[in-house]
Assembly symmetry: D2
Homo-oligomer: 336 residues x 4
Amino acid sequence: MLGVGEMGQRHAENLRRLVPRARLVAVADVSAERARKVAADLEIENSYDSLDAMLECKGIDAVVIATPDKFHAASVKAVAAAGKDILCEKPLGLTLNEARDLLASVDKSGVRLQVGFMRRYDPAYATAMRRIAAGEIGVPVVFKSIGRDKDGAPLAAYQSGINGMLFYANTIHDFDLARWLMQDEVAEVHAFTTVITRPELAQYSDVVASVVNLKYGKGAIGNIESNAQAVYGYDVRTEIVGSKGSIMVGSLLGTHATVLTSGGSNQMTTDHYLTSFSEAYRAEMLDFVECILGDREPRVTGEDGLKALAIAVAAEKSSVRGETTAVTDESLSEVA
Amino acid sequence: MLGVGEMGQRHAENLRRLVPRARLVAVADVSAERARKVAADLEIENSYDSLDAMLECKGIDAVVIATPDKFHAASVKAVAAAGKDILCEKPLGLTLNEARDLLASVDKSGVRLQVGFMRRYDPAYATAMRRIAAGEIGVPVVFKSIGRDKDGAPLAAYQSGINGMLFYANTIHDFDLARWLMQDEVAEVHAFTTVITRPELAQYSDVVASVVNLKYGKGAIGNIESNAQAVYGYDVRTEIVGSKGSIMVGSLLGTHATVLTSGGSNQMTTDHYLTSFSEAYRAEMLDFVECILGDREPRVTGEDGLKALAIAVAAEKSSVRGETTAVTDESLSEVA
Amino acid sequence: MLGVGEMGQRHAENLRRLVPRARLVAVADVSAERARKVAADLEIENSYDSLDAMLECKGIDAVVIATPDKFHAASVKAVAAAGKDILCEKPLGLTLNEARDLLASVDKSGVRLQVGFMRRYDPAYATAMRRIAAGEIGVPVVFKSIGRDKDGAPLAAYQSGINGMLFYANTIHDFDLARWLMQDEVAEVHAFTTVITRPELAQYSDVVASVVNLKYGKGAIGNIESNAQAVYGYDVRTEIVGSKGSIMVGSLLGTHATVLTSGGSNQMTTDHYLTSFSEAYRAEMLDFVECILGDREPRVTGEDGLKALAIAVAAEKSSVRGETTAVTDESLSEVA
Amino acid sequence: MLGVGEMGQRHAENLRRLVPRARLVAVADVSAERARKVAADLEIENSYDSLDAMLECKGIDAVVIATPDKFHAASVKAVAAAGKDILCEKPLGLTLNEARDLLASVDKSGVRLQVGFMRRYDPAYATAMRRIAAGEIGVPVVFKSIGRDKDGAPLAAYQSGINGMLFYANTIHDFDLARWLMQDEVAEVHAFTTVITRPELAQYSDVVASVVNLKYGKGAIGNIESNAQAVYGYDVRTEIVGSKGSIMVGSLLGTHATVLTSGGSNQMTTDHYLTSFSEAYRAEMLDFVECILGDREPRVTGEDGLKALAIAVAAEKSSVRGETTAVTDESLSEVA
């Protein structure tokens, strides 16, 4: 396990406790202290303060990468060069050039690469995909998705610049769903963004919220809304409107306790993605391990990671330039 | 009452039965037969086959206009010239030029003009507005709205060309809510549309579904999805995401009967706007009558009608040209 | 219309405005003042201060009885003796003896009698009945119903003694549904009641809340909860659990506006039966009028009124005596 | 771990994976084969075919008992005699005599005993309890609970006679909640039961469904419905109606995917208690381990187990005799 912040710790716990056929032998983190603590808590034999050091460890077949976004590309390349299979958190990289470069390395080394679009493993999303694929809603016409985080990150997180802006860190999940559930590629996008409640984010090229219009290759359309601080809770919902029916996924309800007073009915909401998607993270890790043991390709490929990234890049371009923007994986399309 | 199709009949019933302080003395329709039948059913004294004939009738203080969209502008002008107050169904017109021309006539004649944005009278929308105005959700950041009709109109309706395309006939309600609930003006829009399931609509310059991105003057953003044939039901929902909380309005649930079998839980959905908004239509009419009796200005003004229309015009331009488009009420901005 | 309190006024409004084939010619109330006011508001020609006076009025074909419960039986008898059809509010009477006596009068006079179990006309309950009758949930096994009022009546209402206690005034609706939806008769009941929050009600032989267990003739079981002051809103819900599935009816949600803050999601609730069941009251009146015009029997008969009353009597006996109690329509079974 | 059927396996998995401070050193089951398999799957060192054999194993501090109901009492006594702490699945026993006898043994040996009422650890129930205790709903007036299983057990399970009938195996959870959430003791009960869809259960003194009326010591009332085969899903819901408001807990919704077609909206339901209460089972086990390590009393005591059992015994008596029945923990009150 490379990187044991919030996300990496969850992956480590899942591997250690809920994926019996895997053995988690080592964790690494730039903070040696943090790596040691997680290793101690989870009874993992080895902890390191760098990827290089960890790669020296015997008996490693695969590495899960959960570093900040900025280090994904370099980490994937190093692990691929060492000949180990990879589960890399989203996004694959922050530019199309580095993502393509990374994919070339993976290709050359012949290792497996799975990208962390864990929503595909969520029971509700998986049910939706199965029913769409079975033709229950006919031809998909409109894709809609909402992804709202509860509390915005502190300013220091923006200042550090180690993670991608909203489209890369949050909307990227919806960009992946937009391709997967609609079984078509996004051809064009248009984005409006706002910093109305935190104007200071503008200097870090980041935003508070965004709406992205989508146009698909075969003619369908869509829209994705992302929000870094919706205050009331963690809220992820997706709808696919089809010619014969629609599918809705997601719910903002948290614990099932409702208090009714003369003021109305009050229900608690979910606060955190690790709560909403705990099952998805577990299933994702299980599947990654089964891929390796069963010698088959991951279900979420490097190509998937690249294509979602290309949509994010186009969305950022659109918001900066104020134009409808084609989605292309040519390096020319990078935000200049 | 001018025009007694589906909408006009409902207005006539409401006036006749649920608005005790008004007296409905006459109905007119291009179909004299239909006018006669409605008059007989509702025990209204007079029926006519034209507006001109009806305006000869004594004792008319106000006219409700529920003709097809194309005739709104000319009808308003004629009624204003006759010095009667007006409740006109949305949209006010199909071009900004005719709407401006119409407003000038109304202005000159000094009559009242209320535009039929009845959602403002729906109990849930009215509650939302009240709570937003009270500051409960802080600064509005994102406006989201969905308007889906169940069954698409037959091809003949499109061929007749008497109603505006999707943005004018359906989305216009959301364009009005977008201004009203956010207490700000829409400055720019971007629209994608699709005819994927009915390519034959393209020749009538109409579409099956659309997504419209919004950018507000003060920096907020938004998106509106419209769908002419969502199949599963009539579904109208709006969310306003603010800096301190959010408000959701609307629900697709119809009758409150749920059937639970081993296949899951099944609930019926609402089919028609006259069901979902029956209370709103009644309250709208009551308020129009109270305006006249109390000698005050309507709550939904001609200016509101013009501004919502300007957004629709900009959205159509955007979808035709593929560009982000400024919302302006200059005639120059018309789709050429 | 006899009795124009809250309920009678609604019936009068419905008759006047929403039942075009009926003509409401007179209202009567012990308060001549109130009768006059309602007649004036609704433009009804005649108002009286007694039933006898009203029955002198020419052109009356039918009378709707909405007096306090205590006067139902005598009123029905008088109207039947005058040869007019009757829609009588629930309960039919407060003892089985008076109800049987009343039915004999109706029988002898040959007039129609419909009892005001309007929930049968509610779209959701009607849907439930249709789907049960179609066999969708197999054999009904358990009947469950909840009926909660928002605010308890003031003490004066209890002191006046003009309405039946909770089982007769509120639960009687559920006793009727218990027979209708299960298509079987209730054979035995057991009731617990409480005055925990208003001990002073005990002296008026009334209660704050109750739970009534049901045993059906064919072996099914059930339970009904009633509450005179649930504080948070008006809440009516029914479930029928069957061998192949279940049906749930009712919902406590009121206006569809949800406010989401960091405290969770908040929804308004319904306050009043006239709001929740407005459609049912209208449909009930329409059907009564159609019965008369079409010369057919009412759907909700005097027999239905008697049988629901018999369950209420048995429930009261059970709660007083602390015993499982058989439901019988013998006068012997009256609470002594 | 004693007994590794469905329930015991889950406890074993939780202990092994999700309770880091505990070490699961042995499992025992009457099926040595099953014990071996579970031990192998979960990498547990020792497996046995009897409790006696397992108690020989060194280093055991506590035993979790998840045998069939019939063996709970004897198992607890044996483990207590061996001086080990105990988490025993519900019910504590099948008669009050054996439960009292068991408690005496536990008392004498001085070991800890926690009873498996895991719903108290469910986040929604825990939230409800906290808010009731904080006075948010005022004085509790009515307790309502529903517990429905999806599929009934096969006839063989009834024939084996190793588990208690519905009141002991299923309703016992609600009997515990009825005491805990209302903070009062149940004084009297009345039960109706049905075998309408499986008359063959009568010969095994078991039932398909039941409704139990409750009367509390301080005057509140309640009702609990249980159903062994509700077909449509696993459905557990509880409401507490108070003088200032109400609390609802539970929901029948499973995965959050809704399919909308012209037939309405369709949602999947939950099938199994191990899904609905997975978090509760984990939290229960964590708390048991923390009790031991922190040397404190369990939150759910043997007394709690006895009192819930006393309600079940009274409910069974009531249903057999057709009488309102006092709840007492005297042995005289056993069903004869």
